[in-house]
Each structure stands twice: as structure tokens, then as C-alpha cells.
Symmetry: C2
Subunit: 430 residues, 2 copies
């Protein structure tokens, strides 16, 4: 009910985003990277990840937030409201970056949230419900193959807490050794302290680049996300006999690499068969063993991602991919030694009252917006399990993401930050 | 003309192979490996390669050979003949091993050659033409992408000598820095000292496992190689826009990984279209960039090997592969940023008089033999450019090679060593 413009002393002053400072922070954060600029590689609990975390915590304190970290390194910056016993309003995203990606994915939702807090402070706003900025641990699955690790745990995944006890990275370092290296998991392998109860937050918001081309193409500055598509990911391994590339004649071969190639094309085929534009499928990883030009691959490893806004339709694709993997193995005389559906999460719906608050904020700011479905995975998917959830998308260049070409204009980011700040203030007072 | 049995003092004593010692040496050498046993990984100028070289030089000295190394680390062990001004008779092979391969490829032709020398000594043989055992540097292309590096140079490849000046491994170490690390290339980048004149040898022989299943299947202990098939290798790169696996809809994609998958299957198709069993083609390497499960590949790297005993037919396959790469790029909207035919060597014929000498030796030893074409690449292919050449194959388990399952029975190896020793003695006296 109370509009933030009701803060009488400020209602003449428009919401002002410090674009220069925000852009500088985005650029500075991108320097914590294992890949040379403009590419960003920032992997969970690496030296650069640890440095970037320190950078974020410093900014949080600079914004007057009190900082807390949980046992896996989710970072919370809290601005205590006038009624601190009420469930707070939270916003945030991630700062980890897959190999050779860009500097905006996730980052806009963390640094943008801090700038939203700064704006509200400049504006003289006093929250009723406490406001929190959250930096989630490992939204990306890079190191341990688990996406949204921090938010999944926060949402109370007992299965993940158990699985982490036997989770290792490709260098055979255990999850907990890696966490300890970064200064977390101090109480050993019991990380149930990370779980949050349902109702811990009154609302959770995430600001993010669209990672698709629609807003840019249509010239619309803001999207209000109504649902997050349901992702599934699979790990597949084929095994053959290998052999010398010159000596083994074609009929005698069972080439695990060609099985992988055929499966990759089958993924594309099954996705296109769904008949819906909303079905997508990707083979992002193909690894051949031993990986020599004169050696027939004796082993191949394939990782597949399939998504849809319709869970049933997506599961049909997953089942077709499984069937293809079996058929290819039979046809080529290779062994399908692994077909593992690593995750198969249900989709999430945004909360209607949060959608309304975001829509009101956009209208008040005179920003055109459209409703949109998110086909990308976000921490919001898991936060929706314990809190009403909403997401704000802003345009990005050609829809590029997960590449160094990823780019969002500072004016577009500023629009998102304004909508976020205004929505936070509304929700904080309600 | 003079049969070795004319050495009167020995002609009652049959040629005796010290199987136990030879097998022990094969096992010991396999321990110089970057991969755990039974796999062998021994990469040019690595610590383990350097140790293995020391092991070979010690064995050479133990066999009474005088040891010489050239500027790239080809190792020569010489038994001076009674007429040292005559061109000598040489035999040898390689001991480098591609990642996760076995312990017999190449090794049998080096340790077997040394055992042949030991046999001839035990037998009381005195060479007329000097005998030499050669260990060739980097038959495998593992580190610098160049196969038969040592023998190609020995055969006088000016092009390779030039190319090496700008050749780097995947860690960006230059060829010459790597060579210096191993104690070679002491005179800088001028390695023309490695070149040998045509006529430097009266004959060159190589003993090798078949790397195919035919001898084992047919129960024939010896193959005499009449020709070595002509190999071609290609490096291909596709580039697309990449993007987020969830956000970019299928019609908007130009997936460099799917282009690679499609090309791999096209290689198989074009090879099978040749209609000849002798045409083989392999995609041993597919690398996707950035290589994350939730990222559309923006770049793919493919390495292809195509071989045939018929050079023209092989070149038709190479051309079809090139055409497919272009068509796939067009169809998928990706850029074919590289299509590089790295080498396209002509085949080599064995020398008729050496074939006869090997055949005579087999008959004398009462060993059944067959004539065979080598579809695998060997240093003999290049030695044939400067010397009459011949090769001896022995059976190996199921034809496996370039895998840890690679195996040759010591009795089969001993047969090959006997044929080699007897042929060396014949050629030395002629
Ligand atoms: Mn991402
Ligand atoms: Mn993200
Ligand atoms: Mn080999
Ligand atoms: Mn070999």
C-alpha cells in the first residue's frame, strides 16, 4: 500500500543510479578471472573466486550491510528493517563464471542489488522488513557438476547435502576439501546449517540479463519473469575397443567417438521433433579418450542439457535421448557404460503479488515491460521452494551469454536496478 | 650369398632368443610412463621419455654398441663391421607411446633389435657391413602434432626443419626449448646435422607388431611388409556464436559442436564410400570450447586421420571430407575457420632384395610367413626415402594397439627377433 514516494523528504528526487561506479565495479570484478580479459573464468573456491568474494563482502560493508556467510559460502548482506522480526525481502544472484564466459551473467544481479541498496539509502529510504542481498555459491556446475549448489542447499536439499560427501572435482579434490581451502565448511561435513525454513523470506527477487535476444530485438527495457523452465542434464559414456587408426579396418571398429557424435545429433533431432520453440537441447561437452589423432576413441563422455517450460515435454525428450543412446550402442557395438540423469528439476512459477509489484514499479518508472518465461536456470528456481519469487530481466547484446561477447549496456542495467530498488522498497513496506 | 650358418664354429647352435630377458626389458621400459600400468604414456622429451632413453642407451652399451645421438635425439648404437667403409645395415623403431597406449608398439622393434644383436654375438657372428640399432625420436605425433619427427628429419625434410622453428606444444613450449630440456639441440635451431644422405645405409629393417588382427586370426607367425599405406591427417576448426544452453532457441543457434559431430560422421561415410577395405578414416580428437554442459559450443577442433594403400583413393576421401566441412559450415551457419591438411605422405614400397632376404630367413627358420601391406604409419616410411627398406610384422592380440590391451606373446616376439637377426646377418655379409 505505501508507495516509496510517500517518504516525503525524498519524493522530489528521482531514483538515481550511479552508473559510473556500477560499471567500474563490473569491470573490476571481471578481473578476478583465470582467463584473459574480455573472457571471464571464475570457478568455485578457486583463488580468483576467493578474491572476488572478498571484493563483494567489502562492497556489502561499504553499503552498510552486515555480512554473514554460511557453511558453503553463500554470502548475505543485511540491512535491518524497522520490524526485524518480520520475514525479510531478499535479492541476489551469483558471481561464478563458467570457463571463457562473460562479465554480466549473475554479476548484474549481485552488484545491481548492492547499487539498489545504495540508491535506497541515498533516497533516504528506511526499510520496514529487513532487506538482504545474497551472493549464491556456485550457480554454475563447472567444478562439481552441480548447478545452483548454494540455493539448492538453502532450499533444504537433504539429497544434495548427502551427495556432497562423496563429490569430487576433476582433479579428485573433494567438495569439502575445496570448501575448506576457501575458508568454509568449518564444522566438517554437516552442512544442514545452510538449510533455510520455508517462510524465511517474505519475497525473493533476482535481477539478471535475459541471456536471449528478445528484449533487445523488440526494444523493450524490462521483462518480468513469470516462470523458470525445467532443466534436465545427463552424463553419458560409451566404451569401445579403441585401436590404431591405421591398422583396424572399418568393419572391425566399435568407435566410441562416433557413438558420441551420433548421440549429439540425436539430441538435436529429438529436440526439434518436440515441435515447440520452447524445447532446447545442448551437447556442451564431448570428450574422447585417449584423444590422439591416430587412435580410435575407446571411450567417450558426453554431457547433455535439455530444457523446456513444459516438464512433460522435456521428459519425453530425455527418454528419447536415452533410447537413442541405447540404440547407437547396439548398432555400433559399443557399451553404453553410463547414462545418468544428473538432475531433472521441476519448473518454478513466479509469485503473482511479486509480479504485480514489479509491474507497478516499471509503470511508475515509465519503463515498458513484457512478461517472459526464463529458459535459463537461476538460483530463483530453488529460492521459489522456500519463498515467493520473482525475476527481472534486462536486454543483453544479441542474447549472447556464456561467451566473452556477453554484454549489457549500463543504461539497460540501470533500468533493471531502478525496478529492483523500487520493488524492494514496496515489498519491504508491505 | 654367405649364409650365417657358414660361421662354422656356430652352425650347430640354433638361433636362441633370451625370452626372459627380453620380456623383462619390455616390462621395465613400460614403467617409464605418465599413466598407471598397464597403460603407457610416454611423451617426447618428458621426464619419463628421458629416463627411457637412458635405459635404451645403457642396453646398447651393454650389447657392445657405440652410442651416438643426433640433435633431435635419434639414438644410434653401432657394431662396427669388418669393412666399416661400406654402407651399414640398420634396424630400429620408436619407444614413445601415445597417452594410455600399450607397451609393445615400437618397443618390440627397439628391444627386439638389441636382442637380435645379442643373439648374433652369442652366435659368434662377425659383421662385414656395420650393424646399427636406431631408436627414432617421436614416431607418435602426441606432443607437437608431427608424426615420425626423427625419421622425417633423418630423411632430409628441409620443410620440417623450418617448421620446427615455429612449432609449439599445447602448453606453448617451443620444440627447441623442449629438446634442450632433454639435452638435445645444443647448436640452436640448425638441425640440418640430423639429415642423412641417400645411400647412408645399405638396408633398413623394422620389426613391429602387426597392429591388426590378421596374423593372429590366420595363425601365421610372420608377415613380410611389401608396402606402407599412405596417411593423411587434417586439422579442422569450426566457429559459432556460442551462448547459453537454456536461453538461445534452436533456430537461432550455430553450434560448432554439432558441426564437429556431423563432420566426424561424414568422415566415416566417405571412407565407407570408397568401397575398399583398405581405406580407413578416424576422428581421434574432438574438442569443444568452452566445454561446459550449459554452454553451446562456440568453437570445435577436430583432428582426422585418413589412410589407404592407394594414394589417389585416399586423396579422394580427403577432398570429400573438405567438401563436407564446407557444406556443414554453410548449412549450420558456422565458420570453417581452419581446414589444414597437416600431412599427406606418399606410400612407400619395400625393397625387393630385402623382401627376399626376409623370406629366405623365415624359410630357414621354418617359420610360415605371408606378404602384407602395412596400413599403419612407421619410421620405415621415411627411411625408405634414403635407404632400401623392409619390415617384419608379428601377431598381436586381437590386433589391438594404442590401448593398454595391446599385447604380443613373447614366443611371437622371439620369432620376429630371429627373422630380424638372420636377415641382418645375411645383409651384413652381402
Ligand atoms: Mn550462467
Ligand atoms: Mn546466471
Ligand atoms: Mn603407434
Ligand atoms: Mn609404432
Amino acid at each position: 500500500p505505501s508507495e516509496p514516494t510517500s517518504c516525503s523528504e525524498n519524493h522530489h528526487q528521482p531514483l538515481f543510479v550511479d552508473r559510473e561506479s556500477l560499471q567500474r565495479q563490473i569491470d573490476e570484478l571481471s578481473q578476478f578471472s583465470d582467463a584473459p580479459s574480455p573472457a571471464v573464468t571464475r570457478v568455485l573456491y578457486s583463488e580468483n573466486d576467493i578474491s572476488a568474494r572478498r571484493y563483494i563482502k567489502d562492497l556489502m560493508r561499504h553499503s552498510g550491510l552486515s555480512v554473514r556467510e554460511d557453511a558453503v559460502g553463500n554470502i548475505f548482506g543485511r540491512w535491518e528493517g524497522s520490524e526485524p522480526e518480520l520475514a525479510g525481502v531478499a535479492t541476489g544472484s551469483h558471481i561464478d563464471a563458467i570457463p571463457y564466459s562473460g562479465k554480466y551473467d549473475g554479476v548484474v544481479g549481485v552488484l545491481g542489488a548492492l547499487e539498489a541498496i545504495n540508491m535506497l539509502r541515498r533516497w533516504g529510504f528506511q526499510p520496514k522488513r529487513s532487506l538482504e542481498v545474497i551472493m549464491f555459491t556456485s550457480e554454475e556446475p563447472t567444478r562439481f557438476g552441480i548447478s545452483c549448489l548454494g540455493s539448492r542447499l538453502m532450499a533444504g536439499s537433504e539429497a544434495l547435502a548427502e551427495a556432497l560427501k562423496v563429490t569430487f572435482d576433476s582433479q579428485n579434490m573433494s567438495f569439502f576439501d575445496a570448501a575448506k581451502f576457501a575458508g568454509y565448511a568449518n564444522d566438517g561435513q554437516d552442512i544442514s546449517t545452510v538449510f533455510l525454513k520455508k517462510g524465511s523470506y517474505f519475497a525473493f527477487l533476482e535481477l539478471h540479463i535475459e541471456q536471449g535476444p528478445i528484449l533487445e530485438e523488440e526494444g523493450v527495457p524490462i521483462a518480468i519473469v513469470t516462470a523458470i523452465a525445467a532443466p534436465a542434464s545427463m552424463k553419458v559414456e560409451f566404451k569401445g575397443n579403441g585401436g590404431h587408426a591405421g591398422a583396424v579396418l572399418m568393419p572391425a571398429r566399435n568407435d566410441a567417438g562416433l557413438a558420441a557424435a551420433e548421440l549429439a545429433l540425436a539430441v538435436e533431432k529429438h529436440v526439434l521433433e518436440s515441435g515447440s520453440l520452447d524445447t532446447v537441447g545442448t551437447v556442451g561437452i564431448i570428450e574422447l579418450h585417449p584423444g590422439a589423432v591416430n587412435s580410435i576413441p575407446s571411450k567417450s563422455h558426453v554431457e547433455i542439457d535439455a530444457r523446456d517450460i513444459d516438464e512433460k515435454r522435456r521428459n519425453i525428450v530425455v527418454n528419447k535421448i536415452r533410447q537413442s543412446a541405447m540404440d547407437i550402442a547396439t548398432k555400433r557395438g559399443v557399451v553404453l557404460s553410463e547414462f545418468n540423469v544428473v538432475n531433472q528439476d521441476p519448473p518454478a512459477q513466479s509469485d503473482e503479488s511479486i509480479i504485480k509489484a514489479m509491474a507497478n514499479a516499471s509503470e511508475q518508472l515509465n519503463l515498458n515491460y513484457k512478461r517472459m518465461i526464463s529458459r535459463a536456470y537461476h538460483d530463483s528456481l530453488f529460492m521459489a521452494r522456500i519463498s515467493p519469487m520473482g525475476m527481472i530481466f534486462i536486454p543483453c547484446y544479441k542474447g549472447y551469454s556464456h561467451t566473452p561477447e556477453e554484454y549489457a549496456a549500463i543504461d539497460d542495467i540501470a533500468n533493471g536496478v531502478k525496478v529492483l530498488a523500487l520493488t524492494l522498497s514496496k515489498l519491504s513496506l508491505s
